[in-house]
Symmetry: C4
Subunit: 279 residues, 4 copies
Amino acid sequence: MKKFKSKYEILRQEIYIIIYGANTFLGRLFDLSLLGVILLSVFLVMFDSMEGIGKKYHDFVYVCEWIITIFFTIEYILRIISNKKPLKYIFSFYGIIDLIATLPMYLSFFIPSTSFLAAFRALRLLRLFGILNLMPIIGQQSHLKEALIASKNKIIVFIYFIVVVSIVLGTVMFMIEGRHNGFKDIPTSIYWCIVTLTTVGYGDVAPTTPLGQFIASMIMIMGYGIIAVPTGIVTAEYAKATNHNPELEKKRVCKHCTSFIYDEDANYCPNCGTKIENE
Amino acid sequence: MKKFKSKYEILRQEIYIIIYGANTFLGRLFDLSLLGVILLSVFLVMFDSMEGIGKKYHDFVYVCEWIITIFFTIEYILRIISNKKPLKYIFSFYGIIDLIATLPMYLSFFIPSTSFLAAFRALRLLRLFGILNLMPIIGQQSHLKEALIASKNKIIVFIYFIVVVSIVLGTVMFMIEGRHNGFKDIPTSIYWCIVTLTTVGYGDVAPTTPLGQFIASMIMIMGYGIIAVPTGIVTAEYAKATNHNPELEKKRVCKHCTSFIYDEDANYCPNCGTKIENE
Amino acid sequence: MKKFKSKYEILRQEIYIIIYGANTFLGRLFDLSLLGVILLSVFLVMFDSMEGIGKKYHDFVYVCEWIITIFFTIEYILRIISNKKPLKYIFSFYGIIDLIATLPMYLSFFIPSTSFLAAFRALRLLRLFGILNLMPIIGQQSHLKEALIASKNKIIVFIYFIVVVSIVLGTVMFMIEGRHNGFKDIPTSIYWCIVTLTTVGYGDVAPTTPLGQFIASMIMIMGYGIIAVPTGIVTAEYAKATNHNPELEKKRVCKHCTSFIYDEDANYCPNCGTKIENE
Amino acid sequence: MKKFKSKYEILRQEIYIIIYGANTFLGRLFDLSLLGVILLSVFLVMFDSMEGIGKKYHDFVYVCEWIITIFFTIEYILRIISNKKPLKYIFSFYGIIDLIATLPMYLSFFIPSTSFLAAFRALRLLRLFGILNLMPIIGQQSHLKEALIASKNKIIVFIYFIVVVSIVLGTVMFMIEGRHNGFKDIPTSIYWCIVTLTTVGYGDVAPTTPLGQFIASMIMIMGYGIIAVPTGIVTAEYAKATNHNPELEKKRVCKHCTSFIYDEDANYCPNCGTKIENE
């Protein structure tokens, strides 16, 4: 019995190395297969949606989707079994994505109207960040992450401000344009206002009265100034994060009292007064 | 009589604490109710505007709006009565918003065509900045505010410049496109020019003649360069505002050799080794 | 004769002070009248272009335009006569604008088809920068001007680059979309490409083939990255222009050899070796 | 035989100086002719695409295109022959462009359907960067190039992130809008999402259901925040590249007291007064 357990333990470790690792040949192969299956799965969802071709090969696509779903299910189970701390994986970022991406197919089996959840399968594309080793560039020692965290609160307040402004201006525009030209109710007018302030400008809703066009022009010019604010925040925070003076980091240490000496021109240790020998 | 006055004074203080404060249970409850009523009031204005549903429940909405208006009226009166300096509140930012947001309903009672003023009720959403305690993030010790104030004048001149350019180019485009394709008069052409320069681009008015398209392309590329200017101003001002090196501002001077001491924790002058008396 | 000349000289000076100056009551009055007439003149051009109302009051507008033109002509002549260096004014920025803005009306008298030159009358709005005293904000000691001059060359090369890219991509898109959906010839396709790269996006020309939409998506994402470049240039140059370290400007002067001492910690003049007394 | 060889060598050198150089009169003339022929060639491709005029002069354009192609072929051969290291030219940036721009015409002779490759002729416009001497501005000692290289990886990850987000959101929107209003399949929905996130906003595909418009609004506001990121990266990197404080890099050290000497013109050490030997 003990022998079987240790045998199982060895198998568990081997699977763990293949699935979680990327240094062995099999580990790399697994990563690339996963990459392929994810891309195929996303491609199938797209293909299925196309009017003409989609319907023709519907049965073929349906079978493929089930094969892929079973593949992902096996992968999910193996990830849980092979991991010593399965709960850590289950509640990790990738664990949740893997679950959300796999479940919909089973749900659609029981509740047909949930087929739209297939959209979440695309979330698995985020795994590519891990497989292609992209995270180090924006992750760990990243100034970008630092800048985004520093900017977060300000940008949230800013977005809230834009939403309030859009509600007020959207209501005003609805009153002016009066149910014509797409301004059919206040929510649509607010939608128009957001479309305008963000400089997207579809044109599906557009003012036609002179007063409406005048106020729209005001809103656009305002949006022109407003677009500068989030950019300014992110840029300045990013510049600050990357701007840690490297020279300050090369600070010396007093040989007598081991305190840091920040002043490059120091002849004497500012803490204990010992004369410093310049290297 | 005196007793009554002091009793009234106690009541006034209690109301003041509930309405203006947020530290007591009742004060917090009042804030949250206000938040709810404001959101409900904005939702009702939107709901009323919708073609199908709006008409069906019009009477219900109408009654609700009057109840909300009376609630806001009572709140407004209580705010004035409970405040020791009522004029300060009345002419404060929130005081004016509260009035502008409450009046329209009464006006629409006497003058039916002013119902469009209901738009101003959305202004009350700005109160959420106070209730949700968002102001500290962009307010008080905020670099963002500093940057926006520093950028204001330049951006105003910049906007004025854009307006003048739009008038000139709008007139030119009207001459070229000649009343066709939406360029039906000069104000519309100016509106088109602003839509283009701000990169909104609805497409409700768009050039169709080759020359018109050529000039439009020029305007767009120009707008591409122009969009950089307000962003540049805000970013640089924001960076400047956040960049005050705190270490440089706190430097001390050695009383013996008069050299600057950058290290805040220095006990001895790093230049001549004299002991420093800490103030 | 001499007396008359000096009398004329006095009159010339008085006119000069009224027209060019803004410190006397009459000078200020003249500026404000000019402001009014310019605004009226621009308003009239707009008013005249409007389909319905424009035609009705056409005669009235026509008379008004002639009155305004004569006013501007008199102003132009007075500016030349009253100025001691008339050529300097004539070839100055405002002198050229005044001429370009006044001429069209006379030209339209002889050559009817030149009425479109009325657009240039709007150029006079630039005078408002002078009248409203806006120039100091972006002019003289302005970092913005400095930044724009420093960025100019780079932005011109950048714009040239965008034009070349647009020509190449425009031609490619024309080949793909093949005369359909607005891509009717290569110039139109180039126009579409500029509309897309600058994120204006009218939608009057838009790809409909899957391949066309795919390439358009690539172009948009590219444009997304490209829009960052001019903004980056202007911002960095503006930041550099405003970032002259104020401490470096407080440099001391050696009392012996009068050379500047940049090093704040200097005990001896780095030029002549004299000991420095610290103030 | 030897004499002929040296004669050929002289001719080769003369051709080399004319074609590659720009300092001699003939070299400059060649550059300008090349500029003219390139512009003419691009103009012809455009002209040929125009519906009305294009067909009329089709034969004339066809002959012109062959003449230009032969001119470019001769130029290409001369560049190879006159160059001592022909392979270096062939595989250089301009060498590849020259080939890509010349080949299509010959290909279209054998395979008629490849006429769309004429688009690549526009690539030759990039030669203008060399002829007009624009490269030094963005090339060699350029901070811009440095900044773009430093930003490259981050922006690629960022673009990948946008593509993944677009696929997820595009699929969601397809499920919501359900084959109506242009959302005819998932690839089109993804295309819509990219059009929206980049703030281009054609409006050929636009949501009409309230839920679709709500989610679209969310996407736009998100895109508004996202647009700040690449701008922030490029700006900060550019600022860093231009910000190398030249004074800090040139600092010397006093041989006597080992303190740094920031003042480049210093004759005496500002710390101890020792005379400095200028290297």
